[in-house]
Amino acid sequence: MSQKPSIEPSERNPGILRARGEWTLQHAAEMLALVESAPTRAEDIDGRDITRLDSAGAMMLSRYAVKTGLGLSTVEVRPEFQTLTATVRDLCEAPPRRRRKDYGVREMLARMGFAVDDITREVLALIGFLGLTLKTGLGVLLRPARFRLTPTVHHMEQVGLDAVPLVLLLSFMVGAVIAFLGASVLRDFGAEIFVVELVGIAFLREFAVLLTAILLAGRTASAFTAQIGAMQSGEEIDAIRTLGLDPIELLVLPRLVALLVMLPLLTFLAMIAGIAGGLAVSVASLGFTPEMFLTRLHETIGIRHFWVGLSKAPIFATVIALIGCLEGFQVQGTAQSVGERTTSSVVQTISLVILIDAFAAMFFMEMDW
């Protein structure tokens, strides 16, 4: 008793092909082979001996029939399979759309296009969001009673105070590393004393604020995105709007103000910690005394370096707060979206912080500050 699908010319009339057996998904390989070897011409196909038929079988039968120049409509099957073949015929024998091969070039170009489009959109959204926040901020300045002090202080604690140990530790370590690096090069020239300038200027102008900003980008921007994103996916933001409240005033301003206050303070701490790291290394391995280090620092490094470094802190604070919040608002529904937006907010913030820092360095150099 053969159950495998088969199709053979009938004995009486070789032009008529008789299909037999079970045309089901289980016998897909046999059916494929049958279709492969289908003749290009046949008068008729008789499917009444097909004992089982499922949609995969009907599809293969349809292909076979099309290959022989007939169609599934000419194949006669048992009555219980007729609805199935009719359905499959309608779906399969519509002229198939050609799939084009393009070896991924098209795909690559399309993705590039989408990426560029995405970036443009993000930049425009960020500028728009900056404007919106400034407008709301000015409105609150005019009516200070609307300012939410309690959440602001709460965010200050989360953003600033809680980050102090980490900022101190990292800055101290980086300060020490810079002192080591500088010392090993400067020693060849007998100019170890310049380690003081190296560490001092590096930290006051660049590293303190940059390290702090990058740290907060990872720590705070992601937290802002996740907080606001979770609210967005729970429709809390919509609820805020329908209650006549302004989500920017309620959610963004406290976070922005908290960062604007805390980032400069953290930067100041980072400067101290970094210089302390340099001092520790100088004392431990270069044979300086702390007094020597501090006197040299005091004599050679102008206060302008400090102001140059600190002046960047509010800009970075704005970037971190705005991108963190904006990405949160752009979350759409799912948990996956929250994850994607959080990643995106950290990446954008860090890139933008470094980019702005590079331009600022050039600017300050040109200005000779």
Binding site: S55, T87, Q336
Partner: protein, 262 residues
């Protein structure tokens, strides 16, 4: 496979409990081949639990379950494989894999159960199922998140049908759809059931669905199947919940709609 059993699903003496809370006790249920069985019951009567038990997702505390003549509670791989290949499930939320496109979702069971099939045939089969489920062709390349709720359910049906199962389980297929979409979905289930000769186990709250497409209705209450019979008989059944359900305002509206149609 001659002499196939008359019953697609046969449940006897089923007992399910969560801790001290007994959901089912001495529950019997028969689902005949080729019928659409509507399973109704109040919230918490264990409709989904019953489905999960039949699918082997949740081992019951006692009782026997036969699916297509095979012992569903058997631990043997061959038997559970046979049941897996012959059952398709549409979960309430669609349960599509969110990181795969619709076409890839439909192709997953095909690749898993028939690794020997060439890629283009899997692709074509997936496309066939997607169109059978009433989705446009370009839906195949989309991610589930890009589809509307109704389309997601259709994609879920397409995946459930991937292996040409004999048995289709639907968990509240019309929940969350607008009335027009729900009616279209009922129509789709009916059409597919006829074309593919499916046996359908349909959990629903939707009276319109019951009246539109179900051959028989099983009522779950008091931890067991109260009655499993054609609608006309179930409507007359004397039990407070059944009476409330079918003769409350919503039940009457659905009956009226059905009568108008006829």
């Amino acid at each position: 496979m001659s002499g196939e059993p008359e019953l697609a699903i046969r449940v006897r003496g089923l007992r399910n409990s969560f801790g001290s809370q007994v959901v089912h006790d001495q529950l019997d249920l028969d689902v005949r081949r080729g019928e659409i069985l509507g399973v109704v019951g109040g919230s918490g009567t264990g409709k989904s639990v019953l489905m999960r038990a039949i699918l082997g997702l949740r081992p019951p505390q006692a009782g026997s379950i036969e699916v297509l003549g095979v012992d569903a509670l058997s631990w043997r791989a061959r038997e559970s494989r046979l049941i897996e290949r012959n059952t398709g499930v549409l979960f309430q939320g669609g349960a599509l894999f969110s990181s795969l496109t619709v076409a890839e979702n439909v192709a997953v069971p095909l690749k898993e159960h028939y690794p020997e099939l060439p890629a283009d045939m899997i692709q074509d089969l997936a496309m066939l199922k997607i169109r059978m489920a009433g989705l446009p062709e370009d839906a195949g390349a989309k991610l589930p998140s890009q589809l509307s709720g109704g389309m997601r359910k259709r994609a879920g049906i397409a995946r459930a049908l991937a292996l040409d199962p004999a048995l289709l389980f639907l968990d509240e297929p019309t929940a969350g759809l607008d009335p027009v979409g729900a009616a279209a979905f009922d129509e789709l289930i009916r059409t597919l059931q006829r074309a593919l000769g499916l046996t359908v186990f349909l959990i629903t709250h939707d009276l319109d669905t019951l009246y539109a497409i179900c051959d028989r209705v099983a009522v779950l209450a008091d931890r067991r199947v109260l009655i499993n019979a054609p609608l006309a008989e179930v409507e007359r059944f004397d039990h407070p919940w059944v009476q409330e359900y079918f003769h409350g305002p919503r039940g009457r509206a659905a009956q009226a709609a059905k009568a108008q149609e006829a």
